[in-house]
């Protein structure tokens, strides 16, 4: 085979793969603009196009879909989860990577062990703990759920910190810097990729999760839902035929900011994962 042909073949293959990956997404977008309010099963493209679903989603007074409210709820939870979790992850990662203390190994082992339990095994107990403090059905409670255990996800960040040369830190110690200064002024500024990676991951959690949210938010009141819960309720047995297109529209609206975030941060994100998982 000659080279130009191989190059052509390579690009055709890529196009094919991209088509496989993007077709469902494309269907999501066209369905959200279609006139059918239930799933469109007649043809790939809708018979006619309309903005009605977006309008209903964003400005509708329907008490089912309170999308702007859900979006706001999720955003609030996401911002705080992101702040707390990122701080936790970086703090634990620094302690485990750059410091040596007797409890270090045992703690790392415990984290490994805890990660082996299925996460929602403990959800019922967590639910009752939060209920005793009156935090179920509240955004605070959700934030706690998403961020409390985040310290255990330190491994990738630790892997990244491990690659930062020790001599940098040692020079700082010689100049009389304490651990805090080293962490704050030396390690963190060098860790942009892993910070971005952690921020993205923790920020996305509340947008993606519905299991924990559905256990925590059991009041059934529409205005208390997160985006995931709300969209999920649109495609249950009862609502699917009325709200499927709105679900698609909601999916599109959620995906846009996340995609933009990903595309902008792609470089950092890749560096972050690989920097960390090289030693993960």
């Amino acid at each position: 085979m000659n080279r130009p042909f191989r190059i052509l073949l390579r690009h055709v293959l890529l196009m094919l793969l991209a088509a496989i990956w993007l077709t469902p997404i494309f269907w999501l977008v066209v369905t959200s603009f279609g006139t059918d309010s239930g799933p469109n099963i007649r043809s790939f493209f809708p018979a006619d196009y309309t903005l009605a679903h977006y309008e209903a989603l964003l400005f509708g007074t329907d008490s089912v879909s309170q999308f702007p409210q859900w979006f706001l709820n999720t955003l609030i939870v996401a911002v705080f989860t992101c702040l707390i979790s990122t701080a936790f992850v970086l703090m634990v990662a620094y302690a485990m990577s750059c410091m040596r203390f007797p409890a270090r190994k045992p703690m790392m082992n415990i984290a490994i062990i805890l990660n082996l339990f299925p996460g929602f095994l403990s959800m019922i107990a967590v639910y009752f703990i939060l209920k005793e403090v009156g935090l179920t059905n509240s955004l605070t409670g959700l934030t706690i759920i998403y961020s409390a255990g985040s310290g255990m996800g330190y491994l990738i960040a630790k892997g990244f910190f491990d690659t930062i040369s020790r001599s940098l830190r040692e020079a700082a110690y010689l100049e009389g810097a304490n651990e805090f200064t080293v962490f704050w002024r030396i390690i963190l500024p060098l860790s942009k990729p892993i910070v971005v990676y952690t921020v993205i991951n923790t920020f996305l959690m509340p947008w993606m999760d519905f299991v924990f949210a559905s256990i925590m938010m059991n009041s059934g009141v529409a205005s208390e839902k997160t985006v995931a819960l709300g969209l999920f309720s649109m495609v249950d047995k009862v609502n699917r035929n009325r709200y499927f297109a709105q679900f698609c529209a909601g999916g599109v609206l959620v995906s846009i900011p996340i995609s933009v975030l990903f595309i902008i941060m792609q470089k950092f994100y890749v560096e972050g994962i690989t920097g960390g998982s090289v030693k993960g």
């Binding site: 059934g220 309720s233 047995k237 009862v238």
Partner: protein, 411 residues
């Protein structure tokens, strides 16, 4: 670290224990009474808002703050069982969940006007709302939660819809389908009950009694299963639960099917003037025609026994199931009333779906089923739909199924 940790823990836990077991004990003279009510569907919200406005107007001496939540009537018990105390004060549920709710102690027996509720509603709906101890545990809200036959008069005549074979033959001649949700225990029951076989809740209120696999019944279960295999294999048959049924209505491929009032609007919309409803047909088993039975279904309104304001919650529940509210509900949502007076309203009588439910009523049983019934019967239904691919002996299938249905509920 340990010190800090201990102190944080301490603060947190003092917070925790401060609330331990503390029943929300609101002040008796508190100006505002908070109540939360769950309706079964988003589309019920406008109706509920109207009812609440009327309720507030009818009780000017008290101030209510009433919040509406949505909890599918079919899943309501699951959510309530996971935490009764967090559930709504007043909730709507399908009567099949009566047993699990009673076992969990979630329902408050009616205190003040039980007799008038009994008198105002149809006897079947009252039976559905009565617990094993004979007390009334819920307020009948609708009597339309059963199933019946939808059909399209363009293709089918009134005589065609008398028998299932008539339906199937006409459908396959026209290249269309007759839908039945075979892999769903709720509907699946009608074949066996129709053939005189029985399955019901045993006296312990938890497990089931079932004679589907017995050898000494006039029509045996194996004969029923054989009849169902024949029906499933008929070219005019399609197994279709709610979603596929709706899809089939819309694209015109389904011309008849068994479903409930919740799909009446779609059917009416898709078929226009050709939309009609009737009682379930007969079907052929062991050479004879037997009338298909059914579960009668009711939506009930329950009051949470753990509500802080059970009295007010019962007032609201009674109000939202009274004649006026039921008629309003019929007007807004086409749901058939359980209230005797509301049921005799000419507009209600004229509704085909409700007429069909009334016609099916003599063959319907109130649903009292233990939780183990559903998965086991659905599995058998699924095997039948797939045409018993492994060619398992029919009696074995039934034995397995009955073992599943009658299994102790704690497994």
């Amino acid at each position: 670290m340990r010190k800090l940790m201990a102190i944080m823990l301490a603060l947190l836990l003092t917070g925790l224990t401060g609330c331990t077991g503390a029943e929300p004990a609101p002040d008796a003279a508190s100006p505002e009474i908070p109540l939360r009510v769950w309706v079964g569907d988003n589309a019920d919200i406008p109706w509920m808002e109207q009812v609440i406005a009327d309720f507030k107007a009818a009780h000017p001496e008290r101030t209510y703050r009433i919040e509406i939540g949505v909890q599918n009537e079919g899943d309501c018990a699951k959510v309530i069982l996971s935490d009764v105390e967090a559930a709504a004060d007043v909730f709507t549920f399908a009567d099949d969940q009566m047993t699990s709710l009673l076992n969990a102690g979630a329902l408050m027996p009616l205190q003040e006007n039980a007799q008038s509720i009994r008198n105002a509603n149809t006897p079947e709906s009252v039976e559905a709302a009565t617990g094993v101890d004979g007390q009334l545990y819920a307020y009948p809200a609708t009597a339309d939660n059963g199933y019946f036959l939808f059909y399209n008069t363009d293709y089918l005549s009134e005589s065609d819809v008398q028998t299932f074979s008539g339906l199937l033959d006409k459908a396959s001649d026209a290249g269309k389908k007759v839908a039945f949700p075979m892999a769903n225990g709720w509907y699946f029951y009608s074949w066996f009950k129709g053939a005189g076989l029985d399955m019901h809740l045993s006296d312990d209120g938890v497990t089931n009694v079932c004679n589907w696999n017995a050898a000494d019944t006039p029509i045996t279960g194996a004969e029923v299963v054989q009849a169902l295999l024949d029906i499933s294999a008929h070219p005019g048959f399609i197994e279709a639960d709610s979603d596929p049924f709706v899809a089939g209505l819309k694209d015109g491929s389904i011309i008849a099917g068994v479903s409930g009032t919740w799909n009446a609007a779609v059917a009416a919309e898709s078929w226009g003037d050709s939309y009609a409803a009737a009682k379930l047909p007969t079907y052929t088993v062991d050479g004879q025609e037997v009338q298909m039975a059914s579960f009668s279904g009711f939506k009930l309104v329950g009051v949470n026994a753990y509500s802080s304001y059970v009295g007010d919650a019962m007032d609201l529940a009674a109000f939202m199931t009274a004649k006026d509210a039921q008629l309003q509900r019929f007007r807004l949502r086409r749901q058939g009333p359980s209230n005797v007076e509301a049921l005799s309203d000419p507009a209600v009588q004229a509704e085909p779906a409700i007429a069909a439910i009334i016609a099916q009523a003599p063959y319907a049983t109130v649903q009292r089923v233990g939780s183990k019934y559903w998965d086991a019967s659905a599995a058998l239904g699924k095997i039948i739909v797939n045409g018993n691919p492994d060619s398992i002996d029919l009696q074995t299938l039934l034995d397995n199924c009955v073992a599943g249905i009658t299994a102790p509920a704690d497994q």
